[in-house]
Symmetry: C2
C-alpha cells in the first residue's frame, strides 16, 4: 500500500478529475486499478451513503419499462413459486418490454450456429461438427474468424468494433439503401441503448440544450408510422420534412431504426433516414445523422446478446474523434454481439444450405407477429372506453383508455396516475404486465398503456379473455 | 408522423427531461423510439456539430490506454499491411493493454465449451455432441439453461443478471472468503468498467465530491501490493488500515479486485476487502463496500466477452434501489458474459471430466505469465537509467525512466511529455506499444511507462533484444 497509507490518504484527493461527470475520468481512476479507492461522502455515519448524499440526477431519473410495476410483477412471480394458487393466474406475462425470447420465441438457428462455432472454434475442423451444424454456418464462422485479428474472439477489439464485421454491416446498409456506407462510420455497441447514451453524452452540454422528440416518445405502433410509412408516399414525405427541418435548423437527426424488419403490412416498406436524406441530394456536409440498429428487435429478437450499432454520418473529423474516445472508454462491445450484428445485416443467401430454413423461420415469426398484433388490436377496440390504432409495425400496441371519473378519483386516493392504477389492477387480476402511458409522454389528460404483441400465439385467445373479463369488471366497479 | 410534423416540432422540445444528465432520461426519450429525434445545437451551419458545441467534459476526458499512441500504432499496422517493409519491424506488439488473447493466449476450453452449448442448446441432446464436448461442459450447460427462465439465452434478463447465475457467483465468493455472500448483492455487468461507471454515476454529485485513489492510479504491479499482499502479514495490515480509515471517515470503499487470480509468488494470497472487513468484525452497518470482478483478467483473459460483476454491500435499501435503477437503464448485461462470470467463480471440480485439463491450462497460463514478468523485469532493470519493481501479480510492469536532460528538452520541443516522447520513439523503432506513465498520475517530475507482460513467451527474448537496442540508441542520442 505504498501510497495509500492512512496518514497520507487525505492528501490524495484527486480534485482535478472531478470537474468532469463523463464516465471516463472515473474509469480512468478506478476501472482497472489494482487497489482500492474511496468516494468521500462527507458523512461519518454508517452506512455512509444515503439518498441525500447520492447524485440527485439518478434519483430523478425514471425508467418506465422496468419501473415499479415490473418490480411488483417480480414479487408476484416469486409468490407464485412459493405459494402456488396464491393469485388468480398461474404465470406472469411480461408484455411490458420487447423481449420476444422471454415469451418463447425461438432464436434463428443459423445465427446461433455461427455464434456457437465462433465461441468454440476448435470444433470447426472436426468431422462431427458437420453432422451438427449447417455447411454455411461453418463457412461463415471460418469467414468471421478470419476477419478477427489472430482469430481471437476473446480479445478486446477496436473500440468501434472488428473492422471486418463493420465492413459486412456497411455492405448490408448499402445494399438496403442503395447508397454507399462506410465501415468507418459504424460503431458497434452493446445494443442500441449504449449507443444512444454515447450520443447524448456527446451532444448534451447543459440543461440549456433541447431535444426534439415525437410523442408518445417511446416505441409504440402509432408513432412508428414515422419509420414505416403511414402510406407509401406520405411517410416518405414526412421523413423528407424532418430531414428538411433538421437541415434548415442545423439539428442533429438521431434515427432509431431498430424496428426496420418489423413491418406487418404488405404495401409498406422501411426507408432509412439516410436513404431519404441522400435521395434528397443531401450528403455529409448537409446533415448530421445517426442511425441506431439493434439485434434485440426485428424477427431475431436477440435481446440477451446485447448487440447493435450506430451509423454516424455528417460529423467533422474532430467530432468523430471525440465519439471514438467515448467509445474507447468502455474498450469495446461484446464480440458475440458484434458478430450477431454483422449476421443480421448479412443473412443466408439463395443457394446457401440454411437459406430456406432461415427464410421459413424469419417469415414464420413475422407473420405470427402480424396475426398477434391484429388479434390484440381487435380485442382492445372491442372493449368499452378503449381505442387502439392499427398495428402495422414494431412490437407494441398503445391502447387509449377513456376512464370513468370514479376510476380517476380512486387512483388519486392511492396517489397513482389513472393509467398506472389501471395497469396495477390489471396485473393483480391477470398476471399481465403492461406499462402505463404516463411513462411515455402522452398528451396530458389522456391515458394509455403500452402492451407488446409478443405472447405466444397459442396463448393469445386466453390473454384476450382475461383482458376482457378484467376490463369489464373494472369498468363495472368504477362506473359513473 | 402524427405528432412530429414540421410546423409543430418546435413545440415539442421536452425541457423537463433535460435537467438531468444521467443517461436514463435520454434513453427513455430515444433508445427504443421508433421515430426520429433531434438535438438542438443552436447552429444553422452544416455540419451543425463542432467541438465548440459538444459536451466540454467529453473533450476534457483522456484515456491513456487507448489514446494517441494507440491510434498511431493502428496507423503503423495499416502501413505494414499496405507497404510491407516500410518500418524496421514486421508486427505491432500491443503491450498497452491487458488483452491476453490478442497476444495469442488461448481461451480455457471448458469455458468456451459451455458458452457454445448455451449459444446453441439444440445440439445438447445430439449424440455427436458427446464426441465434441466434455461431459461436464454438457452437464454444466444443461444446469445453466435450467437457471434461465424459459431457457431463453436470447432474452433480456433481470437487470442485475440471471438470479441462478448470481447464486453461483455468491457461492463462489463465500467459498473464497469464508464469509457469506448474497445473490441480491451481485450486479452482473458488461465487464468491470460499466460497473465502475455505475457507481461513479451514483456517488458523484458534483465537482465538490472527492475520490481518494492510490497513485499511480491504474493497474501496475507495484500498486497491486495492496491487493496481493506485500508480505502475508503486512498486506493484510494495509488492507485493515484502509478499512479502518473508510469506517472512521464514512467513506465508500470501491475495491477493484479483477486481478485476484493473477498472483505469481508462492507465498502470497489474495484477500478480498470484504473478507478483511468481515474478519475485523465489520458488517453491513459498518462499511459500504463495492468489489469489482471481471472475466477479462485472471488466467481466463476473456476481454472480448465483456463479463463481470460488482458485489455491493453496506448500502441501505433505498440506495440499493437507485443502483438497481441505474442498472435497469441499459436493461441487462450480455448473457454470455453473465454465464462466463458464473463459470470463473465456479470452475470444474476434482472428478469432473474437464478437471485435469482445466487445471493444466490454468496453471500453464499463470506460470508462463510469471516467467514472462520476471524476464521483462530483469531486462528493464538491466537498462541504463531504468528501474523496475518486482512483478508479483496483475499483468503489468511500470518501469521508471531516469531520462537525460537532452531527451526532456527534445520532448518539450515537440510539445510532448518526456515519457510520451520515449514511448513514441519506442513504438516507431520497435513496433512495441506501451503507455506513457503521464496517463497514470505518476509523481510529478518522475517518468514511467506501463508495459504488459502478455506477449507470447517465445517472443520475449526477441522483444527484450529490441527494447535494449532501442534504449541504448535512445540514451546515446540524448546523452548529456
Amino acid at each position: 500500500m505504498r501510497r495509500f497509507a492512512t496518514e497520507r490518504a487525505k492528501k490524495l484527493i484527486v480534485g482535478s478529475f472531478l470537474s468532469s461527470r463523463s464516465p471516463s475520468p472515473s474509469s480512468h481512476l478506478l476501472s482497472s486499478s489494482a487497489a482500492a479507492a474511496a468516494s468521500a461522502m462527507g458523512s461519518t455515519q454508517s452506512p455512509p451513503v444515503t439518498l441525500d448524499s447520492i447524485n440527485p440526477k439518478v434519483i430523478k431519473c425514471e425508467y418506465a419499462v422496468r419501473g415499479e410495476i415490473v418490480s411488483h410483477a417480480q414479487r408476484l412471480q416469486q409468490e407464485l413459486q412459493t405459494k402456488p394458487g396464491a393469485h388468480p393466474f398461474d404465470e406472469i406475462l411480461y408484455c411490458n418490454i420487447g423481449n420476444p425470447q422471454s415469451l418463447a420465441q425461438q432464436p434463428i438457428t443459423f445465427f446461433r450456429e455461427v455464434l456457437a462455432l465462433c465461441d468454440h472454434p476448435s470444433i470447426l475442423d472436426k468431422s462431427e461438427t458437420h453432422a451438427l451444424f449447417s455447411a454455411d454456418a461453418i463457412a461463415r464462422a471460418w469467414q468471421i474468424l478470419d476477419l478477427i485479428p489472430g482469430r481471437a474472439t476473446g480479445a478486446y477489439s477496436h473500440s468501434q468494433g472488428i473492422k471486418g464485421l463493420r465492413d459486412a454491416i456497411a455492405a448490408g446498409i448499402a445494399a438496403r439503401d442503395g447508397f454507399p456506407a462506410n465501415a468507418d462510420d459504424i460503431f458497434l455497441t452493446d445494443g442500441a441503448s449504449p449507443a444512444v447514451h454515447m450520443m447524448m453524452q456527446l451532444l448534451i452540454r447543459s440543461e440549456k440544450d433541447g431535444i426534439l422528440c415525437p410523442i408518445p416518445q417511446y416505441p409504440l405502433y402509432s408513432a412508428s408510422i414515422a419509420l414505416h410509412g403511414g402510406s407509401l408516399v406520405l411517410a416518405e414525405e414526412n421523413q423528407r420534412e424532418i430531414v428538411e427541418f433538421c437541415k434548415k435548423e442545423g439539428l442533429v437527426l438521431l434515427a432509431d431504426e431498430v424496428y426496420q424488419e418489423n413491418i406487418y403490412v404488405e404495401n409498406k416498406k422501411f426507408n432509412s433516414f439516410k436513404k431519404i436524406a441522400r435521395s434528397m441530394g443531401y450528403g455529409e456536409q448537409d446533415i448530421s445523422l445517426v442511425s441506431f440498429q439493434s439485434v434485440s428487435k426485428g424477427y431475431y429478437g436477440e435481446c440477451g446478446k446485447r448487440g447493435g450499432y450506430m451509423e454516424v454520418t455528417g460529423f467533422s473529423a474532430d467530432v468523430r474523434e471525440q465519439i471514438y474516445k467515448v467509445a474507447s472508454v468502455n474498450l469495446c462491445s461484446n464480440i458475440s454481439g458484434q458478430i450477431l450484428a454483422s449476421l443480421v445485416m448479412n443473412t443466408p443467401k439463395v443457394g446457401d444450405e440454411s437459406y430456406e430454413s432461415f427464410i421459413a423461420e424469419k417469415n414464420g415469426i413475422l407473420s405470427s407477429l402480424a396475426r398477434r398484433a391484429k388479434a390484440l388490436e381487435d380485442a382492445f377496440n372491442s372493449l368499452e372506453g378503449v381505442t387502439c390504432n392499427k398495428a402495422e409495425g414494431a412490437m407494441y400496441l398503445f391502447p387509449r383508455l377513456h376512464l370513468p371519473q370514479k376510476a380517476i378519483e380512486a387512483a388519486k386516493v392511492v396517489n397513482a396516475a389513472p393509467d398506472a392504477f389501471y395497469a396495477r389492477r390489471l396485473l393483480d387480476a391477470t398476471g399481465i404486465v403492461v406499462v402505463p402511458g404516463s411513462g411515455f409522454g402522452q398528451v396530458p389528460g389522456t391515458w394509455h398503456f403500452r402492451c407488446t404483441i409478443l405472447p405466444q400465439e397459442d396463448k393469445i385467445p386466453a390473454i384476450i379473455s382475461r383482458l376482457k373479463a378484467f376490463h369489464e369488471s373494472f369498468m363495472e366497479e368504477f362506473h359513473d
